[in-house]
Structure formats: C-alpha cells, structure tokens
Point group: C3
Chain length 271, copies 3
Amino acid sequence: MMSIQAELILEKVREQNPLVHNITNTVVTNFTANGLLALGASPVMAYAKEEVADMAKIAGAVVLNIGTLDERIVESMLIAGASANKHGVPVILDPVGAGATPYRTETAKMLAETLDIAVIRGNAAEVASLAGENWEIKGVDSGAVRAGDASSLSVKAAKQLNTVVVITGKTDFISDGERLFSCKNGHKLQTKVTGTGCLLSSVVGAFCAVEKEYVFAAAAAAAVYGCAAEAAVERLNRHEPGSFQIEFLNKLYNLEPKALRERMKLEEVLA
Amino acid sequence: MMSIQAELILEKVREQNPLVHNITNTVVTNFTANGLLALGASPVMAYAKEEVADMAKIAGAVVLNIGTLDERIVESMLIAGASANKHGVPVILDPVGAGATPYRTETAKMLAETLDIAVIRGNAAEVASLAGENWEIKGVDSGAVRAGDASSLSVKAAKQLNTVVVITGKTDFISDGERLFSCKNGHKLQTKVTGTGCLLSSVVGAFCAVEKEYVFAAAAAAAVYGCAAEAAVERLNRHEPGSFQIEFLNKLYNLEPKALRERMKLEEVLA
Amino acid sequence: MMSIQAELILEKVREQNPLVHNITNTVVTNFTANGLLALGASPVMAYAKEEVADMAKIAGAVVLNIGTLDERIVESMLIAGASANKHGVPVILDPVGAGATPYRTETAKMLAETLDIAVIRGNAAEVASLAGENWEIKGVDSGAVRAGDASSLSVKAAKQLNTVVVITGKTDFISDGERLFSCKNGHKLQTKVTGTGCLLSSVVGAFCAVEKEYVFAAAAAAAVYGCAAEAAVERLNRHEPGSFQIEFLNKLYNLEPKALRERMKLEEVLA
C-alpha cells in the first residue's frame, strides 16, 4: 500500500467529516472525541438503548469499545450493532482487556459472534483471547508477545473471526485473512497516554466510513496515526506524556501529506 | 450591554465561587470541571437519584446536559430540577443533539416543559428542534443555519419556551423573548474541541448563580467566554486544537478586565 | 521519614508497574489513568459487578472513589472491596464530598465500616464527616479548617476507623493512629485542576501495592506527589491551571531522585 492511498483516505475523512458513533469507555470519551474532531471526523457518543439504533443508522461507522462495560452497555452495543449491520454501517470492535477477566473475554466473543464486525482492533493478548489463543495479559495495558507471532495471529484471527484484524504493538499488523500489512510507524510514548489504542479504533471507524475496502482503511488508519504520533514527538523539547498528548491532537489536526509520504512505513507482506 | 456589566458579573463569580451542580455527559465532565474551576466557580457532578435533590438545593445553579442521557439520568434530572425550582436555584438546559434522535428530542422537550428553566443553551438546530422548527442536524456537532435566521429563532424560542435562550454559532444570540443581544466574540477553533458548547452552558450557570437577571447573565457569559477563546488563540504559535484547549483554560483563569473591555462585541439589537 | 525511603518506594512503583484497579468518578477517569501511567503504574478501570471481583483479585491495589456514585457503583465497590480483602490487596477509599449530602456521607461510612480499608484519603471536611466530626463542606472542593486541627483529626480518625488516614490541604497529615507525618509539599494550583485529590488517592494505591507498611507508603505518596507539583510549577512561564495540568503529568513521569531529595518536606511529628 502506498502513502498516496493513505493520503487519499485521510483527505476523504477531512472532506466528508463522517459521523462516528462511539459506545466507548468512560476513561477515553473526551480524548476520543477530541482526536476525532482533530482528524476531521464528527464524533458522537450515545449509549441509551432508546436511541442507539437511531444514531447508528445515521452514522458512518459504529465503534464498540468494552473498556468499562456493564450489562446495560452490552445491551446497547447489541442494539447499535444490529442497526449498523442492517443499514450497512461498518462496526469496529475494540476488545479492551479481553483476557483479563472472564466477563470481558466472554462479552468480546459474544459481540464478535453476534454482530457482523468490519474491523477488530486490539493488542496481541486481546486478539488472542478472542481467537481462543493463550497469551498473557495484565489488566488492560499489556499484550507483550509471549509466544507465537503477532503477524500470524492477525491472519489467523481474521480468518477465524471473518473480519479485518488490527493488532497494534511495536509493529502493527493488519489482515483480512488473505492480505497482510505491517506498519512500523508510531512511538513508545503512545503507551504512556491512556486511550491511544481506543482512539485508534475510532480513527479506524472514521476511515472505514469513507473507504469500503476495510483492510485498506484500517491499514491507512494505523499508518496515519503512527505518523501523527512521530510528528508529535518531534515537536517535543522532552519526551514526556503530558505534552505528547497535546501535540498528538495537534498533529492529527494538521498532519501534512508530505509528512505522511516521508514517514510512512506501511508494507504489504506475505500472509 | 456594556463590558463593565460583564466584568462585574465575572468579578462576582470569582469572589463568590458559586457551586454549580452539573448533571452532564461523560465526554465533557473533566473539561467542564476544569473550566469552571479556572473561571472561579466550584463545580460538582452528582447523578444519583438518592442525592441530586440535596445537591441541587445547596447549589448556585443546576446544569442539565443531555449529551449521554439514559433513563436513570433523566430521572435524576427531573429530581434535581424540581429541587432547584423549589429552592429558587436557576436551572440551565443544554439539549445536546436534540433533533438527532427522537429520544433526545423528546427528552429535551419533556425537560423544558416539566421544569422551570432559566436558560437554554444550544446551537440553532438543537433550539429549533425544541421549538418545533425544522432544521438540519447531524449527530451533535452541526447546526449550520439552513433556513430562517438564528436571531429570530432565539426570540421566538424564548417566547415559546418562556425562558432565556442562547443560540451559539459564529454569532451568538441571547434573548428572553423581549430583549435580544448578539455576541460576535469567539473563534472557530472552539468547534475543534469537544465540550466547548457544554462548558459554556455551565459557565452560564455560574453567571446565573450571581446575577438574577438571567438574560444579562447569559449574555455576559457568552461574551466573557468568547473573549477568553480569542485571547487564548492569540497565545498560540499555531492554530491547533490540542494547544488551544489548554490555553483556553488558562485564559478562563486569568482573563483581565482590560482584555474584556477591548475585545467585547456584545450588543443589544432589535428583537 | 527520609527522602531516600520515598525514593525507594517510587523506584519500586516504576519497576513493578503495579496494576491499580480504580472504581472512580466519571470526572477524573482520564486524568487518573494518565497520572498513574506517568508515574509508572498500570491503571485499570472496571465497574461491572460481573468482573470487579476478578479484577480486584489480580490488582496490586483497589481504589474506591465515591465522586459520582450510584447504587450500582456502590454494589460493585462492595464486591471489589470484599475480593481485595480476601486476597490481601490493599483498598484505598476516597470519600469525595462526604458531608455534602447524606447519601455520600452514609455511603462513605458504610464502605469504611464494611470493608477493611488500608488508607482513607480526603480533605479535612470529608474525613471529619466519616469520623462523625462537624466540619463545614460545600460541594466537593472545600474543607477549609473551621475549628479543630487537621493533624489531630488525622490521628483521631485513624484510630477510630482503624486505618491509615491522609488529610490533604496546605499541609498534609498522614497517620495510622500511632505515628503522624506532616508534608508541606505541593502548590495551590493543584486546587484549580479537578481530580488532583482523586489522583493522589490512586497514587497512594500504587505506593501501597509495593510497600506493605501503608503509613509509609501513604506518606511517601503524598510527598512525591507534592514535589512533582512543585517541580511542574517551576516549569511554567505563568501560573495557570491548563498548563499546570500538563506539566504535572510530565513531572510525575520524570521526577528525579535529586529533585525529591532537595524538595521533600515530610517529617514525622508528635501524634
């Protein structure tokens, strides 16, 4: 995949301002909304079972994030997801912390099985737990590779779950089960700011709203996101998470095609 | 309305530190609390039906924001609003996304009809949907004027809903149905930071807590808020939303009377 | 207590990255998670009654913060707290706004009586209301000393509630009922950023996860926190809350042993 394709998808997001309906966790709502606004999308959060079907229907994408789920949220996710499926709106699933508690693992699996999911975005441990693989997880932040290999996991999980899978880490892997992309953009400061994974899932949503080949949309989203993070770090006097969070929003807002072209390390590799 | 009046109301907020009880959406809680603290008010968020009547009673203002409502929140809003009404505490309503889904529209209308509302603050589309007018809305962010005119809408809605109405946009309009003010302060970067409308509603609450002529309080709040935004933008090296968000909090904290005097573009116009 | 002890506990947090399970209010989730990440801890928020026992069991500490409680949250706090108690995981209680409404006061008391609490962290008014003393409180922010003395209150409350008590204010007091520490670090800008008290409670949790002598852990947490705030203020061109919030996260991330050694004003005093 060439940077020009990622550029074009980003350009479409900035022109079309797709409405992204997030049912997400209470930790990242503000950062997610600000990140989507900076990118050029139009975020909305709506949780009530009385309205999520209506909101999902008019959205360009629906993002389901289980970071602080409870039974009411799960009910709303099912309603929103069904409405999105019915109206051809792509559904993104972020299985935050799947593997950390049985409730999260089972809920994530149930959502993946019940709904038609366009893209699943998680770390290796989360995706592994969805695919029935055994990886280590501690809380919601880890997912360091213990055994196996994230690239083959992405392909296997994509086939098994019949969706596009994005596994983020030092290198991101994006696969639809046939094709496989690796992305080496990004910076480790991202791991020191809460919600950087969650926001990426919502950015994937924004990209899927304007590009129906979801594996391209997801790969482009990962690359743009990582390039924005790198460009933000370059602006810092010191590598510190508070300042990074602000500069990252700034760069999501004004990442230039030139910067994307020079930085992008997204490649198709053998699946 | 002269800048000296707005200055005096701001000064009162800074001296009296009114308690503003917010029942607001999960996206903007942090930004709202920090904005109110910066301004000199004392924010509290309380949602449980067991305590909202007690909290509303001791507050200087109660702000009801339907951004992420559900049935429990609505129940609590009714209890808090009734308690506020009983004890003479002004209630501000922010009908976030009214018009986007039937649930939001109907809930906003029900709240406006059931409670004695001091001020409604929304964009043109939200206010129009409350007043039974037909405007376009997409999600919660839009509200560009499609037909009609925001200034006449503010007067009409104020009469119809028997309250003060603040319609924010490139120009803000503030009316109690008799008098009409226009405010041309503010900056478009505000639209790239989530919750700038919601925070203004809470700032209106803080101003109403210290100035019982609510149409003046609301007009002054809109002007102070817009001037703080402009002063924040002047501090930026680049026009970017991450940095703006921080400088805006800074300027809410230390906007000087002189800056207010020089910038304020608040005028009474023919209703 | 010498700065070298505080340094060592901070070093342990940075090395061990303890998982801190927060059941906290919706206003401070993001700031709490970012503060814990900056410090070197691993934050998780989990609220559902279906999973809190599982999460508490694998955590290094559980933090219960009643800032925006409701009946479901209270139920989850009891389940999480019981699981933590069973598995020897320290439980921190932050009684936000206790004294402001009967619901908060009673819930805070009930939690303190039902669970085995390692540390209670609050302002003077909140702690007083838990201990049955009569102090003034307005909303959730106040707690200025009206009568009596915060230092003796901390000792008395610690004895009465059989726990370590941290009372924060201009001077912080930390006591287990026998020993008493005073800490004069910190800066008044902390009072202009929402959640600085809540985040400290979670930082106390992170310190208790690596140091089982909880009175030392709590005293060290208060001192490190105050020193980070002071170091952040020194970085500012102007004393403003928006910028302070960012620099504070930066300094939690990279506060150096040397800075701690030079600044720390933590002393054991006569109980």
